[in-house]
């Protein structure tokens, strides 16, 4: 397998092994908050009003934008508020949200799926069902699943990503143990929807039980399980494709353009629910983990549940905590637990507060370059991002950074390199945005000038014409007057 290995990467042992690997099912919460914008881009618009009664699985927000999927209620109850709530994003900003108070009944809408015989539906219908079920990539990026599938029609290979992509996150492992049949069926649905011939499930080689379970379940000879090395950042889509298929997806293009579709394994399970059963995405498995917890575990929770409720189940210590959402490597630090579970929340790490190592000067030892899976020069990028030199940073391919955090992890100077790169990237984006805006206003300004000029010219022309007409008229009148005068003169002469 490893003959196609990509360069770089780090081997990280999970610092917080779980005591139990089974999934703990959490009953529906008393109150759920649904964030209508879970990733950058458009946000869904509420379709319900405050006070309205909703059932589980009812659509509560929609969007016209194809890159924005609908949101469903995960509990039955009454809409209690439509306002802005904080999101677990590095910006710490609030986004539009809908809050629903439970009536304690867990009343579902009636579910209507295609059933086990998927080929009764056309691939387009399946894709539509996936969209309507509100499914996004559940590994962390949250890219709408239906867009990806639509773009990968006729893809030769489908890769099911079950590599977790983070040492402390184990939700995919738990999912594979609990729902092997659903996953395999989901893969078949996906293969049918894309008209693909082959699917590979990529599982880290230390998840032995999961591999055995999946292998026992697979009846289709076109689906196989591949054990991949437990090297961190293997889960990144393009790197996984390199590892499994020895294909390099060029910068700026999607895997689908090379005939590959890559989907997270939790997404596949959600696709099964949506297509076969007709159940929208209302729950997911979240790993709750960290040094401050007595009983870290995987929980199957409803979307919109609050962090603190779930963390409480893992018996956190009484001390203040450090909380990180979305994995120990690529996640974001958040100030408290006042957030709600999104579709992309794969893990919550609750740690005792550690003294953060202070950053010292970069000595360009190039350890970061050695581990960078993209072969960037983080030491150079750091220098230029730090001094806001976006032009230079871009010339060192800042945009290619996948923010995996390998460089920050090995840096002997404890420099939060990835954060610098996120800063640099945001700056580049801001500059681009401003340039675009300026170009647009400039165009409109020039058009207005042109328009005013045209109006002026037209008016001038009109005025000139009017003047000419008036002149002609006056001349005519003069002529007439002269004629009259002449006639009068003639009359007078005659009189004389």
């Amino acid at each position: 397998m490893s003959k196609h290995d990509f360069r770089g990467g780090v081997l990280i042992e999970n610092p917080y092994p779980l005591n139990q690997l089974s999934v703990v099912e959490v009953p529906p919460p008393k109150k759920a908050i649904y964030l209508l914008k879970q990733r950058e881009g458009a946000s869904a618009k509420p379709k319900v009003k405050v006070g309205q009664k909703v059932k589980v699985g009812q659509v509560i927000a929609v969007s016209n934008n194809d890159y924005c999927v609908p949101m469903h209620s995960s509990i039955s109850g009454v809409v209690s508020a439509i306002d802005d709530q904080p999101i677990a994003h590095s910006s710490g900003l609030k986004v539009p949200s809908i809050s629903i108070e439970s009536d304690g009944k867990d009343d579902w809408i009636s579910l209507k799926g295609c059933g086990e015989e998927v080929d009764k539906c056309t691939p387009d219908e399946i894709i539509e069902k996936i969209r309507n079920a509100g499914i996004v990539g559940m590994g962390g990026a949250g890219f709408p699943a239906h867009v990806k599938i639509k773009g990968a029609q006729g893809a030769k290979t489908i890769i099911i990503n079950a590599t977790e992509c983070d040492p402390a996150t184990l939700c995919d492992d738990a999912l594979m143990r609990k729902y092997p049949e659903e996953i395999i069926k989901g893969i078949e649905v996906l293969m049918y929807a894309c008209q693909s011939q082959k699917a590979i499930i990529a599982v880290e080689e230390d998840k032995v039980d999961a591999i055995i379970k999946l292998n026992q379940t697979i009846k289709n000879k076109n689906i196989c399980v591949e054990a991949v090395p437990i090297k961190y950042s293997t889960g990144a889509e393009k790197l996984l494709i390199k590892l499994l298929l020895d294909k390099v997806i060029p910068t700026g293009s999607f895997a689908s353009s090379s005939g590959v579709l890559c989907q997270n394994i939790a997404t596949v399970k959600a696709i099964y629910d949506a297509v076969v059963i007709g159940k929208p995405l209302v729950s997911r498995i979240v790993t709750v983990n960290g040094s401050a917890l007595k009983n870290p575990s995987n929980y199957e929770v409803r979307i919109g549940s609050s962090f603190s409720d779930i963390v409480k189940k893992s018996k956190p210590s009484a001390n203040p905590h450090e909380i990180r959402v979305g994995g120990m490597m690529m996640g974001v630090d958040v100030p408290d637990k006042n957030y709600s579970i999104c579709k992309i929340t794969s893990s919550i790490i609750v740690d005792e507060i550690k003294i953060k190592q202070k950053e010292s000067a970069c000595i360009r030892c190039s350890k970061c370059n050695e581990v960078c899976p993209i072969n960037l020069l983080p030491q150079q990028l750091f220098w230029f991002c730090k001094s806001d030199n976006t032009k230079k940073a871009s010339s060192y391919d800042l945009q290619d950074c996948i923010e995996c955090g390998c460089c920050s992890y090995v840096c002997p100077s404890h420099i939060p390199l990835v954060e610098y790169f996120q800063y640099g990237k945001a700056l580049v984006k801001k500059e681009l945005r401003e340039q675009e805006l300026a170009a647009k206003s400039r165009e409109r300004y020039e058009f207005k000038e042109f328009r005013l000029d045209r109006i002026k010219q037209e008016r001038d022309k009109m005025m000139a014409e009017k003047k000419a007409a008036l002149k002609a008229k006056m001349a005519k009148e003069k002529d007439n007057k002269a004629k009259i005068a002449e006639a009068l003169k003639r009359v007078n002469d005659k009189k004389k």
């Binding site: 220098w383 230029f384 730090k386 001094s387 030199n389 230079k392």
Partner: protein
């Protein structure tokens, strides 16, 4: 013979570098070294001017000044020649690369007063070298100038991101760096 020409080049580019060893042409060296792209452009322009100026001043010296015994007008004649060459270069640069003209700014016409250019022309005459030798001398001096200019500009681009103490920011640290480059170039002493 060939050996001699190689020696001229090595000497002008490295050992007796006009900027770092003879301290000529410091004005554009400090002025046009903020960005590598500009420095490369300036390097080309200076190379063109210097080579052409040293060749034409040789011709003027040999065929006008000496026959008519007006060597005492040498400096003026050379300055006029250089000004003409620079004017010509400016026109060419204007036409071919407006961006370069913009980034060179005032420093393009200022090549006229670049002491390295006049220095090369006058040194050639005092050393009584041949046409080819004076051309090579001018060319070598210009390559040496461009070479250190580009190196220096790349260094400055990097230093710009450094946390330099406030009183030393900008020109002071650049001058200090230039001095250090001078120290490094001392290593070539004795080579030619």
């Amino acid at each position: 013979m060939l050996n001699e020409y190689v020696l001229i080049l090595v000497s002008t580019i490295l050992v007796n570098n006009f900027v770092l060893v003879k301290f000529l042409g410091l004005c554009p060296f400090m002025g046009v070294s903020k960005k590598v792209d500009t420095a490369i452009g300036m390097g080309f322009a200076t190379t063109f001017v210097l080579t052409l100026a040293s060749l034409s001043s040789y011709v003027i010296n040999k065929y006008i000044l000496v026959p008519f015994e007006i060597e005492y007008l040498r400096t003026i004649a050379f300055i006029v020649t250089i000004a003409a060459v620079v004017g010509f270069t400016e026109l060419v640069v204007n036409k071919t690369s407006p961006v370069l003209r913009q980034s060179l700014g005032i420093f393009l016409p200022l090549i006229t007063t670049n002491c390295a250019v006049l220095g090369v022309a006058l040194l050639n005459v005092t050393e009584n070298s041949s046409l080819l030798a004076s051309g090579l001398y001018g060319f070598g001096a210009a390559i040496g100038f461009s070479f250190v200019l580009v190196l220096f500009s790349a260094l400055r681009e990097k230093i710009e991101g450094a946390d330099v103490p406030l009183p030393f920011k900008g020109a002071p640290i650049a001058l200090i760096t230039a001095g250090m480059m001078s120290i490094a170039f001392m290593g070539f002493i004795g080579l030619a």
